[in-house]
Protein backbone atom coordinates (compact mmCIF):
# COMPACT_ATOMS: atom_id res chain seq x y z
CA UNK A 1 0.00 0.00 0.00
CA UNK A 2 2.67 2.36 1.05
CA UNK A 3 4.68 2.00 -2.12
CA UNK A 4 1.57 2.62 -4.21
CA UNK A 5 0.99 5.92 -2.44
CA UNK A 6 4.51 6.97 -3.23
CA UNK A 7 4.17 6.17 -6.91
CA UNK A 8 0.82 7.99 -7.02
CA UNK A 9 2.43 11.07 -5.59
CA UNK A 10 5.29 10.77 -8.03
CA UNK A 11 3.08 10.61 -11.10
CA UNK A 12 1.27 13.76 -9.92
CA UNK A 13 4.49 15.65 -9.56
CA UNK A 14 5.78 14.32 -12.85
CA UNK A 15 2.83 15.95 -14.65
CA UNK A 16 3.66 19.21 -12.95
CA UNK A 17 7.30 18.68 -13.85
CA UNK A 18 6.32 18.10 -17.47
CA UNK A 19 4.16 21.23 -17.58
CA UNK A 20 6.84 23.43 -16.09
CA UNK A 21 9.46 22.03 -18.44
CA UNK A 22 7.16 22.58 -21.41
CA UNK A 23 6.44 26.15 -20.31
CA UNK A 24 10.12 27.01 -19.95
CA UNK A 25 10.85 25.39 -23.29
CA UNK A 26 8.06 27.39 -24.94
CA UNK A 27 9.44 30.60 -23.46
CA UNK A 28 12.87 29.74 -24.78
CA UNK A 29 11.69 28.90 -28.26
CA UNK A 30 9.45 31.95 -28.43
CA UNK A 31 12.50 34.18 -28.08
CA UNK A 32 13.95 32.58 -31.19
CA UNK A 33 10.57 32.84 -32.90
CA UNK A 34 10.30 36.57 -32.14
CA UNK A 35 13.72 37.32 -33.51
CA UNK A 36 12.89 35.25 -36.59
CA UNK A 37 9.62 37.11 -37.10
CA UNK A 38 11.22 40.51 -36.67
CA UNK A 39 13.80 39.61 -39.27
CA UNK A 40 11.12 38.19 -41.57
CA UNK A 41 8.98 41.37 -41.50
CA UNK A 42 12.03 43.57 -41.92
CA UNK A 43 12.89 41.57 -45.03
CA UNK A 44 9.31 41.63 -46.27
CA UNK A 45 9.01 45.39 -45.90
CA UNK A 46 12.45 46.21 -47.24
CA UNK A 47 12.51 43.84 -50.21
CA UNK A 48 10.40 46.06 -52.54
CA UNK A 49 12.98 48.82 -52.10
CA UNK A 50 15.53 46.73 -53.97
CA UNK A 51 13.08 46.41 -56.86
CA UNK A 52 11.90 50.00 -56.95
CA UNK A 53 15.22 51.75 -56.48
CA UNK A 54 18.23 51.08 -58.63
CA UNK A 55 21.32 49.80 -56.87
CA UNK A 56 23.42 52.70 -58.16
CA UNK A 57 20.94 55.10 -56.58
CA UNK A 58 21.04 53.23 -53.25
CA UNK A 59 24.82 53.23 -53.21
CA UNK A 60 25.14 56.88 -54.14
CA UNK A 61 26.08 59.54 -51.63
CA UNK A 62 22.92 61.62 -51.87
CA UNK A 63 20.03 61.11 -49.46
CA UNK A 64 17.12 63.28 -50.57
CA UNK A 65 13.96 61.15 -50.59
CA UNK A 66 11.61 63.90 -51.78
CA UNK A 67 13.37 63.87 -55.14
CA UNK A 68 13.88 60.11 -55.11
CA UNK A 69 17.54 60.17 -54.14
CA UNK A 70 18.00 57.23 -51.81
CA UNK A 71 21.76 57.04 -51.31
CA UNK A 72 22.27 55.28 -47.96
CA UNK A 73 26.07 55.65 -47.83
CA UNK A 74 26.04 58.98 -45.94
CA UNK A 75 23.84 57.40 -43.29
CA UNK A 76 26.00 54.28 -42.96
CA UNK A 77 29.07 56.53 -42.89
CA UNK A 78 27.49 58.74 -40.23
CA UNK A 79 26.73 55.78 -38.01
CA UNK A 80 30.22 54.33 -38.47
CA UNK A 81 32.13 57.55 -37.78
CA UNK A 82 30.12 58.24 -34.64
CA UNK A 83 30.35 54.66 -33.40
CA UNK A 84 34.09 54.48 -33.98
CA UNK A 85 34.53 57.82 -32.24
CA UNK A 86 32.39 56.70 -29.32
CA UNK A 87 34.32 53.43 -29.03
CA UNK A 88 37.63 55.27 -28.97
CA UNK A 89 36.32 57.32 -26.08
CA UNK A 90 34.51 54.57 -24.17
CA UNK A 91 37.28 51.99 -24.46
CA UNK A 92 40.06 53.67 -22.47
CA UNK A 93 37.76 55.38 -20.00
CA UNK A 94 35.52 52.36 -19.49
CA UNK A 95 38.29 49.80 -19.07
CA UNK A 96 40.37 52.23 -17.05
CA UNK A 97 37.49 52.81 -14.67
CA UNK A 98 36.83 49.08 -14.43
CA UNK A 99 40.49 48.41 -13.58
CA UNK A 100 40.49 51.16 -11.00
CA UNK A 101 37.29 49.92 -9.37
CA UNK A 102 38.24 46.27 -9.32
CA UNK A 103 42.00 46.38 -8.67
CA UNK A 104 43.02 49.65 -7.10
CA UNK A 105 40.16 51.40 -5.33
CA UNK A 106 39.60 50.56 -1.66
CA UNK A 107 36.53 48.47 -0.93
CA UNK A 108 34.29 51.28 0.35
CA UNK A 109 35.03 53.54 -2.60
CA UNK A 110 34.27 50.73 -5.01
CA UNK A 111 31.01 49.98 -3.24
CA UNK A 112 29.98 53.62 -3.66
CA UNK A 113 31.26 54.22 -7.17
CA UNK A 114 29.93 51.13 -8.89
CA UNK A 115 26.24 51.76 -8.13
CA UNK A 116 26.78 55.37 -9.20
CA UNK A 117 28.17 54.24 -12.55
CA UNK A 118 25.21 51.92 -12.94
CA UNK A 119 22.79 54.77 -12.26
CA UNK A 120 24.58 56.71 -14.95
CA UNK A 121 23.83 53.85 -17.32
CA UNK A 122 20.14 54.26 -16.61
CA UNK A 123 20.08 57.93 -17.53
CA UNK A 124 17.48 58.44 -20.32
CA UNK A 125 19.25 59.23 -23.56
CA UNK A 126 16.95 62.17 -24.26
CA UNK A 127 18.27 63.85 -21.13
CA UNK A 128 21.85 63.34 -22.29
CA UNK A 129 20.89 64.66 -25.71
CA UNK A 130 19.40 67.72 -24.09
CA UNK A 131 22.60 68.36 -22.11
CA UNK A 132 24.62 67.82 -25.27
CA UNK A 133 22.52 70.25 -27.24
CA UNK A 134 22.49 73.03 -24.66
CA UNK A 135 25.88 72.70 -23.00
CA UNK A 136 28.32 70.55 -24.97
CA UNK A 137 27.77 71.76 -28.52
CA UNK A 138 27.92 75.52 -27.85
CA UNK A 139 31.26 74.97 -26.09
CA UNK A 140 32.52 72.74 -28.89
CA UNK A 141 31.64 75.49 -31.37
CA UNK A 142 33.67 78.04 -29.44
CA UNK A 143 36.65 75.81 -28.52
CA UNK A 144 37.09 74.15 -31.88
CA UNK A 145 36.06 77.23 -33.85
CA UNK A 146 33.64 75.35 -36.10
CA UNK A 147 30.44 76.68 -37.73
CA UNK A 148 28.20 74.57 -35.52
CA UNK A 149 28.78 72.44 -32.45
CA UNK A 150 26.10 70.01 -33.62
CA UNK A 151 28.59 67.59 -35.15
CA UNK A 152 29.74 64.00 -35.31
CA UNK A 153 32.24 64.83 -32.58
CA UNK A 154 29.51 65.89 -30.17
CA UNK A 155 27.62 62.69 -30.98
CA UNK A 156 30.72 60.58 -30.43
CA UNK A 157 31.41 62.16 -27.05
CA UNK A 158 27.86 61.62 -25.83
CA UNK A 159 27.61 58.10 -27.20
CA UNK A 160 30.95 57.35 -25.57
CA UNK A 161 29.44 58.56 -22.33
CA UNK A 162 26.42 56.36 -22.85
CA UNK A 163 28.58 53.31 -23.57
CA UNK A 164 30.98 53.82 -20.63
CA UNK A 165 28.65 52.55 -17.86
CA UNK A 166 27.94 49.37 -19.84
CA UNK A 167 31.65 48.80 -20.44
CA UNK A 168 32.54 49.53 -16.81
CA UNK A 169 29.90 47.27 -15.29
CA UNK A 170 30.59 44.23 -17.44
CA UNK A 171 34.38 44.64 -17.49
CA UNK A 172 34.52 45.14 -13.74
CA UNK A 173 32.56 41.93 -13.18
CA UNK A 174 34.97 40.09 -15.46
CA UNK A 175 38.05 41.44 -13.67
CA UNK A 176 36.51 40.68 -10.30
CA UNK A 177 36.00 37.06 -11.34
CA UNK A 178 39.75 36.54 -11.83
CA UNK A 179 40.91 34.41 -8.87
CA UNK A 180 42.86 36.29 -6.21
CA UNK A 181 45.44 33.52 -6.31
CA UNK A 182 46.59 34.70 -9.78
CA UNK A 183 47.38 38.10 -8.37
CA UNK A 184 49.14 36.63 -5.33
CA UNK A 185 51.19 34.34 -7.54
CA UNK A 186 52.26 37.22 -9.74
CA UNK A 187 53.09 39.52 -6.83
CA UNK A 188 54.94 36.74 -5.05
CA UNK A 189 57.48 36.52 -7.85
CA UNK A 190 58.24 40.18 -7.74
CA UNK A 191 55.80 41.74 -10.19
CA UNK A 192 54.52 45.21 -9.37
CA UNK A 193 50.81 45.88 -9.01
CA UNK A 194 50.61 47.41 -12.48
CA UNK A 195 52.55 44.55 -14.09
CA UNK A 196 50.16 42.14 -12.43
CA UNK A 197 47.13 43.98 -13.78
CA UNK A 198 48.51 44.35 -17.27
CA UNK A 199 50.08 40.92 -17.74
CA UNK A 200 47.90 38.63 -15.64
CA UNK A 201 44.56 39.99 -14.50
CA UNK A 202 43.54 41.73 -17.71
CA UNK A 203 44.53 38.84 -20.01
CA UNK A 204 42.73 36.38 -17.73
CA UNK A 205 39.57 38.48 -17.95
CA UNK A 206 40.03 39.04 -21.68
CA UNK A 207 36.84 37.45 -22.92
CA UNK A 208 34.71 39.30 -20.38
CA UNK A 209 36.39 42.61 -21.15
CA UNK A 210 35.85 42.03 -24.86
CA UNK A 211 32.19 41.28 -24.24
CA UNK A 212 31.98 44.56 -22.33
CA UNK A 213 33.43 46.46 -25.26
CA UNK A 214 31.08 44.77 -27.72
CA UNK A 215 28.04 45.50 -25.58
CA UNK A 216 29.20 49.10 -25.37
CA UNK A 217 29.55 49.31 -29.15
CA UNK A 218 26.14 47.71 -29.56
CA UNK A 219 24.69 50.32 -27.25
CA UNK A 220 26.32 53.08 -29.29
CA UNK A 221 25.24 51.78 -32.72
CA UNK A 222 21.62 51.48 -31.73
CA UNK A 223 21.34 54.78 -29.89
CA UNK A 224 18.86 57.12 -31.58
CA UNK A 225 17.58 60.01 -29.54
CA UNK A 226 20.91 61.47 -28.42
CA UNK A 227 22.47 61.41 -31.86
CA UNK A 228 19.34 62.88 -33.42
CA UNK A 229 19.59 65.81 -31.04
CA UNK A 230 23.31 66.61 -31.27
CA UNK A 231 24.67 65.57 -34.65
CA UNK A 232 22.99 68.16 -36.84
CA UNK A 233 21.34 65.51 -39.03
CA UNK A 234 22.87 66.54 -42.34
CA UNK A 235 23.27 63.47 -44.57
CA UNK A 236 26.81 64.21 -45.72
CA UNK A 237 29.10 61.32 -46.61
CA UNK A 238 32.09 61.46 -44.24
CA UNK A 239 35.27 61.28 -46.31
CA UNK A 240 37.93 62.14 -43.80
CA UNK A 241 38.85 63.31 -40.37
CA UNK A 242 37.43 66.78 -41.03
CA UNK A 243 33.95 65.28 -41.15
CA UNK A 244 34.29 64.46 -37.48
CA UNK A 245 33.71 68.14 -36.85
CA UNK A 246 30.86 68.65 -39.27
CA UNK A 247 27.23 67.54 -39.01
CA UNK A 248 26.37 63.96 -39.93
CA UNK A 249 23.26 61.86 -39.81
CA UNK A 250 23.01 58.29 -38.56
CA UNK A 251 20.83 55.45 -39.76
CA UNK A 252 18.88 55.33 -36.52
CA UNK A 253 18.16 59.04 -36.57
CA UNK A 254 16.97 58.83 -40.18
CA UNK A 255 14.52 56.05 -39.42
CA UNK A 256 13.24 57.80 -36.32
CA UNK A 257 12.88 61.18 -37.97
CA UNK A 258 11.31 60.08 -41.26
CA UNK A 259 9.26 57.01 -40.43
CA UNK A 260 6.53 59.13 -38.87
CA UNK A 261 5.81 61.18 -41.95
CA UNK A 262 6.33 58.68 -44.72
CA UNK A 263 3.45 57.32 -46.80
CA UNK A 264 2.76 53.69 -45.97
CA UNK A 265 4.19 51.26 -48.57
CA UNK A 266 5.85 54.03 -50.57
CA UNK A 267 9.36 53.61 -51.91
CA UNK A 268 10.70 55.85 -49.16
CA UNK A 269 8.98 53.63 -46.58
CA UNK A 270 10.59 50.50 -47.99
CA UNK A 271 14.02 52.11 -48.11
CA UNK A 272 13.75 53.03 -44.43
CA UNK A 273 13.17 49.36 -43.67
CA UNK A 274 16.18 48.52 -45.80
CA UNK A 275 18.23 50.83 -43.58
CA UNK A 276 16.86 48.90 -40.63
CA UNK A 277 18.16 45.68 -42.20
CA UNK A 278 21.60 47.22 -42.75
CA UNK A 279 21.70 48.31 -39.12
CA UNK A 280 20.66 44.83 -38.04
CA UNK A 281 23.42 43.26 -40.16
CA UNK A 282 26.08 45.62 -38.82
CA UNK A 283 25.30 44.82 -35.21
CA UNK A 284 25.07 41.13 -36.08
CA UNK A 285 28.54 41.34 -37.63
CA UNK A 286 29.92 43.04 -34.51
CA UNK A 287 28.46 40.31 -32.30
CA UNK A 288 29.64 37.45 -34.47
CA UNK A 289 33.13 38.94 -34.67
CA UNK A 290 33.21 39.29 -30.89
CA UNK A 291 32.09 35.76 -30.15
CA UNK A 292 34.51 34.41 -32.75
CA UNK A 293 37.38 36.16 -31.00
CA UNK A 294 36.24 34.99 -27.58
CA UNK A 295 35.81 31.45 -28.83
CA UNK A 296 39.28 31.38 -30.36
CA UNK A 297 40.86 32.64 -27.16
CA UNK A 298 39.02 30.13 -25.04
CA UNK A 299 40.23 27.35 -27.28
CA UNK A 300 43.83 28.47 -27.22
CA UNK A 301 44.03 28.94 -23.47
CA UNK A 302 41.94 26.13 -22.16
CA UNK A 303 38.91 27.28 -20.22
CA UNK A 304 40.45 29.54 -17.68
CA UNK A 305 37.50 31.26 -16.18
CA UNK A 306 34.59 29.13 -17.20
Amino acid sequence: MKSKQITGKESGSSIREFLITALIKAAGYSAILFVGMIFFFLLLESFPALREVELSNLLSSRWYPIEDYYGVLPLVGGTLIITIGATLIALPFGIGTAIYLSEIAPRWLRDTLKPLVEVLGGLPSVVLGFLGMLILSPYLRIWLDIPTGLSAFAGAILLGGIAIPTVVTVAEDALDAVPKSYRDASLAIGATEWQTIWRVTLPAARSGVLTAVMLGIGRAIGETMTVMMVTGNAPILPTGLKNLFSPVRTMTATIAAEMGEVANSSTHYHVLFLIGIILFLISLAVNVAASAVVFRQKKSQGHILS
Binding site: P179, S181, Y182, D184, A185, S186, L187, A188, I189, G190, A191, T192, Q195, R199, V200, P203, A204, S300, Q301, G302, I304
Partner: protein, 251 residues
Protein backbone atom coordinates in the same frame (compact mmCIF):
# COMPACT_ATOMS: atom_id res chain seq x y z
CA UNK B 1 75.28 30.19 9.26
CA UNK B 2 71.87 31.69 9.66
CA UNK B 3 70.10 33.04 6.62
CA UNK B 4 67.08 34.38 8.45
CA UNK B 5 66.69 35.32 12.10
CA UNK B 6 63.24 35.88 13.53
CA UNK B 7 63.07 37.66 16.87
CA UNK B 8 59.97 38.23 19.01
CA UNK B 9 57.68 38.39 15.99
CA UNK B 10 54.02 39.15 16.77
CA UNK B 11 51.39 39.70 14.07
CA UNK B 12 47.98 41.24 14.69
CA UNK B 13 45.07 41.35 12.25
CA UNK B 14 42.56 44.17 12.19
CA UNK B 15 40.01 42.01 14.02
CA UNK B 16 42.43 41.52 16.92
CA UNK B 17 43.41 37.96 16.04
CA UNK B 18 47.09 37.23 16.58
CA UNK B 19 48.20 34.44 14.24
CA UNK B 20 51.74 34.62 15.66
CA UNK B 21 52.79 35.53 19.20
CA UNK B 22 56.36 36.28 20.19
CA UNK B 23 58.05 33.93 17.74
CA UNK B 24 61.83 33.56 17.75
CA UNK B 25 64.04 31.13 15.84
CA UNK B 26 66.74 31.01 13.17
CA UNK B 27 66.69 29.55 9.69
CA UNK B 28 70.11 28.21 8.67
CA UNK B 29 71.36 28.66 5.11
CA UNK B 30 71.34 25.75 2.64
CA UNK B 31 69.10 23.57 4.75
CA UNK B 32 65.49 22.55 4.65
CA UNK B 33 63.69 24.13 7.59
CA UNK B 34 60.30 22.57 8.16
CA UNK B 35 57.60 24.47 10.00
CA UNK B 36 54.89 22.03 11.06
CA UNK B 37 51.93 21.85 13.40
CA UNK B 38 48.15 21.64 13.35
CA UNK B 39 46.01 23.83 11.09
CA UNK B 40 45.44 27.38 12.23
CA UNK B 41 48.79 27.49 14.00
CA UNK B 42 50.09 30.41 11.98
CA UNK B 43 52.35 28.51 9.58
CA UNK B 44 51.14 30.27 6.46
CA UNK B 45 51.12 33.65 8.17
CA UNK B 46 54.72 33.09 9.15
CA UNK B 47 55.74 32.13 5.61
CA UNK B 48 53.91 35.09 4.16
CA UNK B 49 55.76 37.40 6.55
CA UNK B 50 59.06 36.23 5.13
CA UNK B 51 58.39 37.82 1.75
CA UNK B 52 55.93 40.42 2.96
CA UNK B 53 52.91 38.93 1.18
CA UNK B 54 51.07 39.73 4.41
CA UNK B 55 51.08 43.30 3.16
CA UNK B 56 48.14 42.25 0.97
CA UNK B 57 45.99 41.17 3.91
CA UNK B 58 44.35 43.29 6.57
CA UNK B 59 47.33 42.95 8.84
CA UNK B 60 47.42 45.97 11.09
CA UNK B 61 50.44 45.43 13.22
CA UNK B 62 53.70 43.53 13.10
CA UNK B 63 56.09 43.70 15.99
CA UNK B 64 59.54 42.21 16.43
CA UNK B 65 62.17 41.66 13.81
CA UNK B 66 62.95 39.45 10.82
CA UNK B 67 66.52 39.69 9.57
CA UNK B 68 67.52 38.37 6.16
CA UNK B 69 71.33 38.57 6.00
CA UNK B 70 71.17 41.38 8.55
CA UNK B 71 68.55 43.30 6.59
CA UNK B 72 65.35 44.11 8.46
CA UNK B 73 62.38 42.79 6.49
CA UNK B 74 59.70 44.52 8.52
CA UNK B 75 61.12 47.93 7.62
CA UNK B 76 58.18 49.74 5.99
CA UNK B 77 60.51 51.48 3.53
CA UNK B 78 61.88 48.14 2.27
CA UNK B 79 61.50 47.54 -1.48
CA UNK B 80 59.12 44.56 -1.31
CA UNK B 81 59.43 43.90 -5.04
CA UNK B 82 63.17 43.34 -4.64
CA UNK B 83 62.55 41.26 -1.54
CA UNK B 84 60.11 38.98 -3.35
CA UNK B 85 62.74 38.33 -6.00
CA UNK B 86 65.16 37.24 -3.30
CA UNK B 87 62.60 35.25 -1.32
CA UNK B 88 60.34 33.24 -3.63
CA UNK B 89 57.10 31.55 -2.65
CA UNK B 90 55.28 28.42 -3.86
CA UNK B 91 51.66 28.11 -2.79
CA UNK B 92 49.62 25.13 -1.61
CA UNK B 93 47.36 25.11 -4.63
CA UNK B 94 49.42 25.36 -7.79
CA UNK B 95 48.57 28.66 -9.43
CA UNK B 96 49.90 28.70 -12.96
CA UNK B 97 49.36 32.00 -14.65
CA UNK B 98 47.01 31.93 -17.65
CA UNK B 99 49.97 31.86 -20.04
CA UNK B 100 52.04 29.25 -21.86
CA UNK B 101 54.49 27.09 -19.91
CA UNK B 102 57.39 29.10 -21.26
CA UNK B 103 55.78 32.43 -20.39
CA UNK B 104 55.01 31.22 -16.88
CA UNK B 105 58.72 30.67 -16.36
CA UNK B 106 59.96 33.86 -17.95
CA UNK B 107 57.29 36.03 -16.34
CA UNK B 108 59.25 36.83 -13.20
CA UNK B 109 62.37 37.76 -15.14
CA UNK B 110 60.46 39.76 -17.72
CA UNK B 111 58.71 41.87 -15.11
CA UNK B 112 62.13 42.41 -13.59
CA UNK B 113 63.23 43.86 -16.93
CA UNK B 114 65.19 40.97 -18.46
CA UNK B 115 64.94 41.11 -22.26
CA UNK B 116 67.87 38.99 -23.39
CA UNK B 117 66.24 36.13 -25.34
CA UNK B 118 69.14 33.70 -24.96
CA UNK B 119 69.25 34.21 -21.25
CA UNK B 120 65.49 33.66 -20.94
CA UNK B 121 65.76 30.49 -23.00
CA UNK B 122 68.57 29.23 -20.81
CA UNK B 123 66.66 29.98 -17.61
CA UNK B 124 63.56 28.14 -18.85
CA UNK B 125 65.62 25.02 -19.39
CA UNK B 126 67.71 25.17 -16.25
CA UNK B 127 64.84 25.96 -13.89
CA UNK B 128 62.62 23.26 -15.38
CA UNK B 129 65.47 20.79 -14.92
CA UNK B 130 65.89 21.80 -11.29
CA UNK B 131 62.17 21.27 -10.71
CA UNK B 132 62.38 17.81 -12.36
CA UNK B 133 59.94 18.77 -15.09
CA UNK B 134 62.10 19.39 -18.16
CA UNK B 135 61.81 15.91 -19.68
CA UNK B 136 58.04 15.96 -19.42
CA UNK B 137 57.40 19.33 -21.06
CA UNK B 138 60.40 20.15 -23.23
CA UNK B 139 58.48 19.43 -26.44
CA UNK B 140 55.46 21.54 -25.60
CA UNK B 141 56.73 24.67 -23.92
CA UNK B 142 54.25 26.83 -25.79
CA UNK B 143 51.17 24.91 -24.65
CA UNK B 144 49.00 26.61 -22.04
CA UNK B 145 50.31 25.72 -18.60
CA UNK B 146 46.77 25.17 -17.41
CA UNK B 147 46.63 22.00 -19.52
CA UNK B 148 49.27 20.26 -17.39
CA UNK B 149 48.40 17.85 -14.59
CA UNK B 150 48.25 19.10 -10.99
CA UNK B 151 51.67 17.70 -10.13
CA UNK B 152 53.22 19.23 -13.23
CA UNK B 153 51.57 22.58 -12.52
CA UNK B 154 53.03 22.58 -9.02
CA UNK B 155 56.48 21.93 -10.45
CA UNK B 156 55.92 24.78 -12.95
CA UNK B 157 55.25 27.01 -9.95
CA UNK B 158 58.43 25.80 -8.28
CA UNK B 159 60.42 26.29 -11.49
CA UNK B 160 58.93 29.75 -11.88
CA UNK B 161 60.29 30.74 -8.50
CA UNK B 162 63.67 29.12 -9.20
CA UNK B 163 63.93 31.02 -12.49
CA UNK B 164 64.34 34.19 -10.47
CA UNK B 165 67.38 32.67 -8.77
CA UNK B 166 66.19 33.60 -5.32
CA UNK B 167 68.19 33.04 -2.16
CA UNK B 168 65.33 31.61 -0.15
CA UNK B 169 62.45 29.44 -1.40
CA UNK B 170 59.28 29.31 0.70
CA UNK B 171 56.95 26.38 0.10
CA UNK B 172 53.47 26.35 1.61
CA UNK B 173 52.19 22.76 1.53
CA UNK B 174 53.51 22.38 -2.02
CA UNK B 175 52.39 18.77 -2.32
CA UNK B 176 48.98 18.87 -0.66
CA UNK B 177 47.13 18.27 -3.93
CA UNK B 178 49.57 15.80 -5.42
CA UNK B 179 49.71 12.06 -5.85
CA UNK B 180 52.51 10.14 -4.05
CA UNK B 181 54.68 9.88 -7.16
CA UNK B 182 54.61 13.62 -7.88
CA UNK B 183 55.13 14.28 -4.17
CA UNK B 184 58.19 12.08 -4.25
CA UNK B 185 59.57 13.97 -7.23
CA UNK B 186 59.09 17.34 -5.55
CA UNK B 187 60.69 16.13 -2.31
CA UNK B 188 63.58 14.69 -4.26
CA UNK B 189 64.21 17.93 -6.09
CA UNK B 190 64.15 19.79 -2.76
CA UNK B 191 67.11 17.72 -1.58
CA UNK B 192 69.06 18.87 -4.63
CA UNK B 193 67.87 22.43 -4.36
CA UNK B 194 69.10 22.98 -0.83
CA UNK B 195 72.67 22.99 -2.12
CA UNK B 196 71.93 26.31 -3.80
CA UNK B 197 69.01 27.69 -1.84
CA UNK B 198 67.72 28.06 1.67
CA UNK B 199 64.40 26.26 1.85
CA UNK B 200 61.53 26.85 4.24
CA UNK B 201 58.81 24.23 3.92
CA UNK B 202 55.38 23.94 5.46
CA UNK B 203 54.68 20.23 4.90
CA UNK B 204 51.20 18.81 4.47
CA UNK B 205 51.80 15.95 6.88
CA UNK B 206 54.00 15.02 9.82
CA UNK B 207 55.42 12.19 7.72
CA UNK B 208 56.56 14.64 5.09
CA UNK B 209 58.08 16.80 7.80
CA UNK B 210 60.03 13.81 9.10
CA UNK B 211 61.17 12.85 5.59
CA UNK B 212 62.46 16.22 4.57
CA UNK B 213 63.52 18.20 7.64
CA UNK B 214 67.07 19.25 8.36
CA UNK B 215 65.68 21.56 10.99
CA UNK B 216 62.14 21.34 12.34
CA UNK B 217 60.02 23.98 14.05
CA UNK B 218 56.84 22.92 15.83
CA UNK B 219 54.28 25.71 15.75
CA UNK B 220 51.13 25.44 17.88
CA UNK B 221 48.46 28.12 18.04
CA UNK B 222 50.79 30.93 17.13
CA UNK B 223 53.66 29.91 19.38
CA UNK B 224 56.91 28.06 18.79
CA UNK B 225 56.88 24.98 21.03
CA UNK B 226 60.10 23.35 19.96
CA UNK B 227 62.97 23.86 17.54
CA UNK B 228 65.51 21.14 16.88
CA UNK B 229 67.17 19.13 14.15
CA UNK B 230 64.87 16.96 12.09
CA UNK B 231 66.39 13.72 13.38
CA UNK B 232 65.93 14.70 16.99
CA UNK B 233 62.48 16.20 16.60
CA UNK B 234 60.88 13.10 15.16
CA UNK B 235 62.67 10.47 17.21
CA UNK B 236 63.11 12.12 20.57
CA UNK B 237 61.04 15.30 21.01
CA UNK B 238 61.69 17.21 24.21
CA UNK B 239 58.22 18.63 24.74
CA UNK B 240 55.19 16.57 25.68
CA UNK B 241 52.95 18.49 23.26
CA UNK B 242 55.34 17.87 20.38
CA UNK B 243 55.37 14.17 21.14
CA UNK B 244 51.57 14.06 21.36
CA UNK B 245 51.19 15.78 18.01
CA UNK B 246 53.77 13.65 16.22
CA UNK B 247 52.19 10.50 17.54
CA UNK B 248 48.80 11.67 16.37
CA UNK B 249 47.12 12.21 19.76
CA UNK B 250 45.73 15.52 18.52
CA UNK B 251 45.78 17.75 15.43
Amino acid sequence: MNKISIRNLTLTYSDGVQPLRDISFDIPANQISVIFGPAGGGKSSLLRSLNRLNDLTDLTHQKGSILLDDQELLDPTLDVIQLRRRVGMVFARPVVLPLSIRKNLTYGLEVAGETNKDRLLEVVESSLKKAALWDEVKDRLDDPAIALSGGQQQRVCLARVLALEPEVVLLDEPTSGLDPISTGKVEESLQDLKKEYTIVLVPHSVQQAARTADQAIFLLQGEVIEVSSGDLMFTNPQEQRTQDYIQGRFG
